[in-house]
Symmetry: C2
Subunit: 352 residues, 2 copies
DNA sequence: CTGTTAGCGCCTTCAC
DNA sequence: GTGAAGGCGCTAACAG
């Protein structure tokens, strides 16, 4: 029964206790523990030992109160359960932890929570910086965040005026289309996201733009009815593919799915229709989802964990002033994408 | 250009400013804002309006320093990218947010990080409670956490002496096996996790135990070589299924996959071998993963989000003293599982 | 190199 | 019903 008391006492030992035990003043303890200059080696050792024995750790509350820093970073995102977000969070957490920062999660999964977040600003005074993941902010929302006076960075969705870490969505789409074109496909469709809805994600627009540009460059025409909304979910992809197959005027032989999860759904719709992949229809996804390998889906891989980690490192460098304080804070960093060849794409079927 | 200054000023208004503006003392402001008794209606309204006008919000640091509460809960887990964990986190975050608590994430993805976590205890004084998700703690690790004197709860993996939220893993396995038995299967294999490794997860052991018990009850024999390790990943499931198929002595007609992700892998292995599901081999998974519907995998569904949310609510009720303070803190709460019938299971093939 | 002292912003007795 | 004052635990001048 000594564990609990010891531990409990430990978390309650204050800087005064350490000072007494080491026979120095609290100021010296504070300096010694933070590796500041002007502390003799002997004193420092004594303090360190005392702190060790008392299991002392400075209260972040107290030090935060005076320094204004709390060593934690807020992460705001619209969903938490989806693969993409989980991976981004993983990258952010690891990078922050490496620098001794905590990650505080804020999921604004619907309009209500989103409004609450920007009105009550639960991050106020609780974080040193904010990362906005895949959430296209309204101008006024961005301004509210800016009013906090903290380093801000965007991941996956660009936010005007903020530092950002993304992939080149235009190039991503082009890579996918060019791959299909190279295989001889000419009848190519795109399964993307909502282009006009209230959420205003820019990713579907950018990828669809790249799709159109690449088609034009290849001298191919885009059928408007072959640009369908798959809502970036597997279920949505299945519906979208089903819709494509039910259209008159023949079906596409190649489909650019703007996310792997939509490709999974499309795969199911094709199988159910008795069509073979890739003999009848080829599918390219985007992401390199962990299950894409299992389901043999050709994809444009993007470094998801790395984007999160890079954003985390950027705000940390701002906070630690290791970065030039006068450096622009609205530069974006583009991460590379690459084609991962798997079994869902093949030569276009010969026409009859 | 009034936005930013306003915002910046807003986050800096202190209780003194509110007191001045309302023409009362800080003590009254404090009382009024926290709905305490002994404040006249008129005064309270005046204070509320002043606070509103100044966009005042109490600094959690300062109030935490005096009350000892920081309104945040730490979540410790071994992986962050996997579906299961992402869902649990989602449930926890939502429940915590409903009560005004922040979620601070701690991923201990390897032995090093795990050791660091328990040695430096970065949660010390930074959270009011800790949730341990799917992480079987060593006794001494549990004792270290207990030493913090905070409410503790376990999710998905039982931890001796702690409150927990789980499913009945034994019943889960039985349900799966009974379903196969009901379909006439007698040659049943299990793809699970590591039973003897250093990680000591109890879930694979419990599910394998349930598998064996259900087999025995059905009068069926378990072939030792038909209990294989799929590492709880899709890739592992694929390897495991491949191994099952390459064994001499015939193949199983029914396979209990202890997670849906392993079932996905198994599905791929079967397809590649030219076997049909469910005509040749039936597959049951566990989880009801979001993609199980797309890939038509019969599964034993467990409420993942609900387990996380329940754990979060439990620690909050402890913190808010809405729960009996003398109530035992090591009771476990079992969540229901249910069979979700899909296309990966069917009648056992007739023997030749 | 080290100690003293004044807050950081808030809550909480204790008087009134 | 309200105000004054003393910390909570720590850091940051300022002295020495």
């Amino acid at each position: 029964m000594t564990e609990a008391p010891t531990g409990a006492a430990a978390s309650r030992a204050s800087i005064v206790d350490v000072a007494q035990r080491a026979g120095v003043s609290v100021a010296t303890v504070s300096r010694a523990l933070r590796d500041m200059p002007n502390v003799s080696k002997a004193t420092r050792d004594r303090v360190l030992r005392a702190a060790q024995e008392l299991q002392y750790a400075a209260s972040p509350l107290a030090s935060g109160l005076v320094t204004g820093r709390v060593r934690s970073v807020g992460v705001v995102l619209p969903y938490a359960g989806r693969w993409f977000f989980a991976e981004v969070i993983r990258g952010i957490e690891e990078a922050l932890r490496d620098h001794g920062y905590d990650l505080v999660l804020h999921v604004v999964s619907d309009a209500q929570r989103r409004a609450d977040f920007f009105e009550s600003l639960p991050v106020r005074r609780r974080v040193d910086a904010i990362l906005v993941v895949a959430l296209p902010l309204e101008d006024h929302e961005r301004d509210i965040l800016r009013g906090l006076g903290l380093p801000l960075a965007a991941v996956a969705e660009p936010i005007k005026g903020l530092h950002g870490e993304f992939v080149d969505n235009d190039a991503t789409a082009r890579l996918a289309v060019q791959h299909l074109v190279n295989l001889g496909h000419t009848r190519i469709a795109s399964i993307g996201g909502d282009l006009h809805g209230p959420e205003r994600f820019s990713v579907p627009g950018l990828r669809t733009g790249g799709f159109r540009a690449a088609m034009a460059e290849a001298g191919l025409t885009v059928r408007p009815e072959w640009e369908v909304d798959g809502r970036f979910t597997a279920a949505g992809g299945e519906l979208a593919m089903t819709a494509l197959l039910s259209q008159k005027g023949g079906r596409p032989t190649g489909v650019f799915c703007q996310s792997d999860e939509m490709a999974f759904g499309a795969l199911k719709a094709l199988r159910r229709s008795g069509l073979r992949v890739p003999e009848d229809v080829s599918l390219v996804g985007v992401d390199d989802h962990e299950l894409s390998d299992v389901f043999d889906v050709t994809t444009i891989a993007q470094p998801v964990v790395a984007q999160g980690a890079a954003a985390a490192r950027w705000v940390v460098s701002r906070l630690e002033r290791t970065a030039d304080p006068d450096a622009p804070d609205d530069e974006v960093c583009l991460h590379p994408v690459r084609l991962v060849l798997r079994g869902s794409t093949g030569p276009a079927p010969t026409e009859h």
